[in-house]
Symmetry: C2
Subunit: 83 residues, 2 copies
DNA sequence: ATGCTATGTAGTATGTATGCTACATCCATG
DNA sequence: CATGGATGTAGCATACATACTACATAGCAT
């Protein structure tokens, strides 16, 4: 069964691995932000899960850190459903 | 060199294969829309490239049609840069 | 011709992703 | 102790993704 109407996201969390990947690469938020062309606070908001990015931004981040989108973002908690 | 400030997307096109994949699956827009929980017009807008989806919606579509995000969406025209 | 389905176009309304500024904290290292 | 870098919190402004309604058109079946 699906939602009959999506009242615009945000109640739908998107889990991401941005912080893990970023720190593994030794990048600051400012540096990653510069690479993808957004404000450094935006990276912070994403890492804290305060909102989920546009697809464009997700693709750019994916490109910047050289990881597929599916490894960076998912609709299910990657820490739980390790299955 | 990177953009010093991204004035919010939309001038950044995102190419997608939604229509191709959807019709190949024999789905109407309405059916795909129901599967991912959005309005059927939203699918139309995406297919016509009138705007690019949120990451959440992209992930849901990807899940619905069982194709990785990278096969459905890209920042570069998949018809041109076949390289 | 009538009806139905799929699609396109147009317009309005709303939430939210993003930009940006400012200030606070923490931790290095001079 | 200062200074600077990285991060967190807070607030405001704006653009865009999405919802929704309505109408038009085209194709296909009856």
């Amino acid at each position: 069964m699906y939602a009959t109407s999506m009242s615009r996201n945000a109640e739908v969390p998107v889990f991401n691995q941005i912080e893990e990947v970023r720190t593994k690469l030794g990048l600051s938020r400012q540096e990653l932000a510069d690479m993808v062309g957004v404000h450094y606070q935006t990276i912070g908001y994403l890492e804290r899960g305060e909102y989920s990015p546009s697809l464009v931004l997700a693709l750019r981040i994916s490109e910047a850190v050289n990881k597929p989108v599916s490894e960076l973002f998912s609709l299910t908690d990657p820490k739980k459903g390790k299955k």
